[in-house]
């Protein structure tokens, strides 16, 4: 089979695979992937050109409110089973050192790092995949126990960057080089550079980076001098108080908010908390674009769920008033407000 026909097969297979995910048919999805392997499509291509784009599409469908969280979880689970089946089919034998792959603490998007883990395994590394939301203590005790050539850490949400940084430092203290990936570090990895850690945009480049120990260790140091202004730590301290007062104001100004069910209230509190967390993360890496991108994303998510964009503008303005003594956070909130669609104000 030539590469060209394989490509055609993959394109055909893609829509069929999405149907399997939509039907939550784990067995059909696995059969489809195995059939591709039987037809000679390399395992790495099945993972990166079938499973990975399908998973991205699943995320899009959730964001557009076409799929429920339950459907998204079910589809992800099926893709995980498919990845396991592809890996078992390929039966790669480790010829190189050990690489530990894990999600940051609090990070549940385990499929992308799992794909990285399998690509590394296909390329001869002995891979340990620790799974979703790995506590730093667990990771560190694992590194003390088993010598690792490198650790690959995934972070999908920029909100977790401060935790990510702590985790990266914990690995460094064990003298194990770290490579990070995932959207959480920015589309171009700029927040990874800010935190002074090697970054890979995709699985093949992660594999290349891990093969180059000099590149792994030769990363410019973190640039976090701005943390001296204590804005990040103060924001964290005031998190609960900020959410409370934002909620009070929301109830005062939006009568419908007084009638929220317990679940709606939890969702609102969680959204208000996310705004603070993203703001704190933006302050941590001193990059307003982290916050404005989030605000635009949140407005889009809420719009697709019938929540008016004003629901985002209101807490932003509230936080801006409450954080008058925070010059950096204040500037970011102003930029966040400006980034909202005009109807929001």
């Amino acid at each position: 089979m030539t590469a060209a026909t394989a490509a055609v097969d993959l394109d055909d297979a893609y829509s069929g695979y999405l149907d399997c995910l939509a039907d939550a048919d784990e067995y059909a999805a696995t059969d489809l992937a195995i059939a591709l392997l039987d037809a000679g499509v390399p395992a790495e291509r099945v993972l990166l050109d079938l499973v990975a784009p399908a998973q991205a599409e699943v995320g899009e469908r959730w964001a557009r409110n076409e799929w429920s969280v339950a459907q998204e979880h079910a589809a992800t689970h099926i893709s995980e089973q498919v990845v396991a089946a592809v890996s078992a089919y390929a039966k790669s034998r480790p010829t190189r050192g050990r690489v530990v792959v894990a999600c940051m603490d609090g990070e549940w998007h385990a499929l992308p790092p799992r794909l990285v883990a399998e690509v590394l395994r296909l390329r001869g590394w002995q891979v340990t995949f620790l799974g979703a939301s790995v506590p730093a203590a667990h990771l560190v005790s694992y590194l003390h126990r088993y010598d690792a050539h490198a650790v690959a850490l995934a972070c999908a949400l920029p909100m977790r960057l401060p935790y990510a940084h702590r985790m990266i430092e914990a690995c460094r203290r064990s003298d194990v080089p770290v490579v990070v990936g995932g959207r959480g570090f920015g589309a171009d990895g700029r927040w990874a550079r800010r935190l002074g850690v090697a970054w890979a945009p995709d699985a093949p480049s992660a594999a290349e980076l891990i093969s180059d120990e000099r590149a792994l260790r030769g990363v410019p140091a973190a640039r976090l001098a701005h943390l001296a202004d204590d804005e990040y730590a103060s924001l964290l301290r005031r998190r609960g108080e900020l959410i409370d007062s934002a909620l009070a104001e929301l109830r005062e100004r939006v009568p419908a908010a007084r009638e929220y069910t317990a679940a709606q209230l939890d969702a609102t509190v969680s959204d208000l908390g996310h705004i603070v967390d993203f703001l704190a993360a933006a302050v941590y890496v001193d990059d307003a674009s982290l916050f404005t991108e989030f605000v635009q994303w949140l407005a889009g998510i809420l719009r697709s769920r019938g929540v008016p964009a004003g629901a985002v503008a209101l807490p932003l303005e509230h936080y801006a008033a409450a954080l008058r003594d925070f010059p950096r956070a204040g500037r970011m909130l102003a930029l966040g407000c400006a980034a909202l669609p005009a109807t929001a104000h």
Partner: protein, 586 residues
């Protein structure tokens, strides 16, 4: 030359500048020589006659050479005479053979083994004066200070890097990487042989790049003599043949034996040295006494790091083995059941806790399953769960009726806890699942004081199963609740521990997650596979906790897989349960 020659001149570098130079009337009284200059005390009384100008100047630490407009030396002070005996009054300065005393030459130079600085100051009538100072002592003191600072900084970095417990291989690689280039161009660490084999690590660098590390193994008998000596604690002193040995061992790429300097120091261990460090560099930088002291200080830190790492490894091996026996075992494959589990112990580094779950297959095709929580946390609780699971493992062969099995378990636990005086107890849900012809499951469950299970109906609704009962391991005849639940194909029963509902989080981090939020999180999830459902419960709980402390969390989900499940074909190709803690099969 008179005082007026320098009166209006500021030397420019500030070293001799005093305001008094512009105040001729106070000149003699206001001259403030630097304190180290041994100068006859000057009378502070301005009325006293000023001392002869030359008399003052001759005692400067700086020597003076005054030349006229033609460059002919007119005056040489005694200090300058001593420092520059070539310079003779009445002759051209340029003819004296001191190139540093010419315009544009660098200020510092070595002359007759002394380190001198010279600066030229123009005087009136195109004359000039050279101020020459001997800075040999202060320069060497400054060098020594800088070297000492560099050594302290190096050791601080070493302490920082090696201060954390490391994996032994990591520690060894870190040691040789740190040694280059501060101590050596090539550093080789040889560990004390284990089972007749000595492992070595080598750090080396080419040009100015970061050092690279490689490693290998030697049979204990093949070690160079100096290394073998070092491993007995002796520091070899005959350094010349040491280099030869290292070259013979193939350890010194790019360094030839004749032009290299090497040292070997033992790394102190608990009793005998834990290893030996060989450092080598080009002979242009010989190892002096200070260097050797630094190497020894480095070796002490390296030895401590390695000893800690080895100790940690030995203990972790034991702990891992014990820990593995206390981890919940994934449920065994059973016809018609799709299992899903989640487990998150309170102490993340420990990976074991007081929650447990599991299943056993029954001879009639059904399965016994259970999920529970023992009192206490951490290792002791985990050990108790181990006893409990072993009891169940044995007892389910005798009794497969859930309520009777639970009573047997209660008796067995009472006996164990009374014998050990532990006073421990547990809560548990214990059930038997039997597949039905239509692809559904019949679950018969007995309650031992645990949270009642939830059932996800095909409609998307979530029901709490009315199951009561008393703690087990406390009284000899506990009240045991029993209930039978039918799951249609695709329906799921969820067992969970109180780590879920008692998770504290929310706005202030002190609000309980509670059963209502759990029900909300599960509502509408009827199509989720059991593993995804279990992970969802774990995820919403952890999101609620927001990195806060928590109790052990355990979830066991059973889904009626239905008739369409073609499990058999995939059972071997898909590893059951994506193991979060261990390694996935390669």
């Amino acid at each position: 030359m008179t005082a007026s020659d320098v009166r209006d001149y500021d030397p420019g570098d500030g070293r001799l500048s005093t305001p008094s130079t512009t105040r001729p009337s106070a000149w003699s009284a206001d001259v403030r020589p630097r304190p180290t200059v041994a100068l006859p005390p000057l009378a502070p009384d301005p009325r006293q006659a000023a001392p002869d100008w030359f008399e003052v100047v001759e005692h400067f630490r700086e020597g003076l050479v005054v030349c006229d407009a033609d460059g002919v030396v007119r005056h040489v002070s005694p200090v300058a005479e001593r420092l520059l005996p070539e310079v003779t009054p009445g002759e051209l300065l340029s003819a004296a053979g001191v190139p540093a005393l010419s315009e544009g030459a660098p200020a510092g130079f070595i002359h007759r083994g002394r380190q001198l600085t010279a600066r030229q100051v123009p005087l009136s009538d195109a004359r000039c004066c050279w101020y020459v100072e001997d800075v040999t002592d202060s320069a060497s003191r400054a060098d020594a200070l800088l070297a000492e600072r560099a050594r302290s900084a190096f050791l601080a970095v070493v302490g920082d890097k090696l201060g954390n417990p490391l994996h032994p291989d990591r520690a060894a690689a870190a040691i040789v990487r740190l040694a280059v280039p501060a101590l050596a161009e090539v550093a080789v660490l040889v560990l004390a042989p284990r089972a007749g084999r000595a492992r070595w690590w080598r750090g080396s660098r080419t040009d100015d790049e970061a050092p690279t590390v490689d490693s290998g193994v030697l049979a204990g008998g093949d070690l160079p003599a100096a290394i073998a000596d070092g491993l007995t604690g002796v520091e070899p002193h005959a350094v010349d043949w040491l280099v030869e040995q290292a070259v013979d061992a193939g350890w010194l790429p790019g360094l030839a034996g004749t032009e290299s300097a090497a040292r070997v120091v033992p790394l102190p261990g608990r009793d005998a040295p834990v290893g030996v460090l060989l450092v080598a560099r080009r002979a242009t930088r010989w190892y002096d006494e200070a260097d050797v002291e630094l190497i020894r200080a480095f070796a002490a830190r390296a030895g401590a790091a390695l000893t800690t790492a080895l100790l940690y490894r030995d203990q972790a091996e034991v702990a891992d083995t014990l820990q593995a026996s206390l981890l919940p075992v994934e449920p065994v494959e059973a016809a018609g059941v799709q299992w899903g589990t989640a487990y998150r112990p309170a102490q993340a580094g420990l990976r074991i806790g007081g929650d447990f779950y599991g299943s056993h297959r029954l001879a009639d095709g059904g399965s016994v399953f259970f999920l529970g929580d023992v009192s206490g946390k951490g290792v002791e609780a985990a050990v108790f769960t181990g006893q409990l699971r072993q009891c169940l493992q044995a007892l389910h062969r005798l009794e497969s009726h859930p309520a009777r099995l639970l009573r047997l378990l209660n008796d067995a636990l009472l006996e164990t806890t009374q014998a050990h005086g532990q006073g421990r107890f547990a809560t548990i849900v214990l059930g038997v699942a039997r597949p039905e012809r239509d692809g559904g499951l019949t679950l018969t469950m007995a309650g031992g004081g645990h949270l009642p299970p939830l059932v996800l109906r095909a409609s998307g609704e979530v029901e709490a199963v009315p199951l009561r009962g008393m703690l087990i391991g406390v009284v000899s005849d506990p009240r045991v609740g029993e209930v039978t639940v039918r799951l249609a194909p695709g329906e799921t029963c969820l067992l969970y521990s109180d780590g879920v509902t008692e998770a504290r989080g929310g706005r202030r981090g002190d609000e309980l997650f509670g059963p209502e939020r759990l029900v909300t999180a599960l509502t509408g999830c009827q199509r989720m596979p059991a593993p995804a459902l279990a992970e969802r419960v774990e995820q919403v709980t952890c999101d609620w906790l927001a990195q806060g402390d928590h109790d052990d969390i355990a979830v066991l989900a059973l889904r009626a897989a239905g008739l369409s499940a073609r499990g058999a074909r995939h059972l071997h190709s898909v590893p059951a349960g994506l193991d979060q803690a261990g390694e996935t099969p390669a």
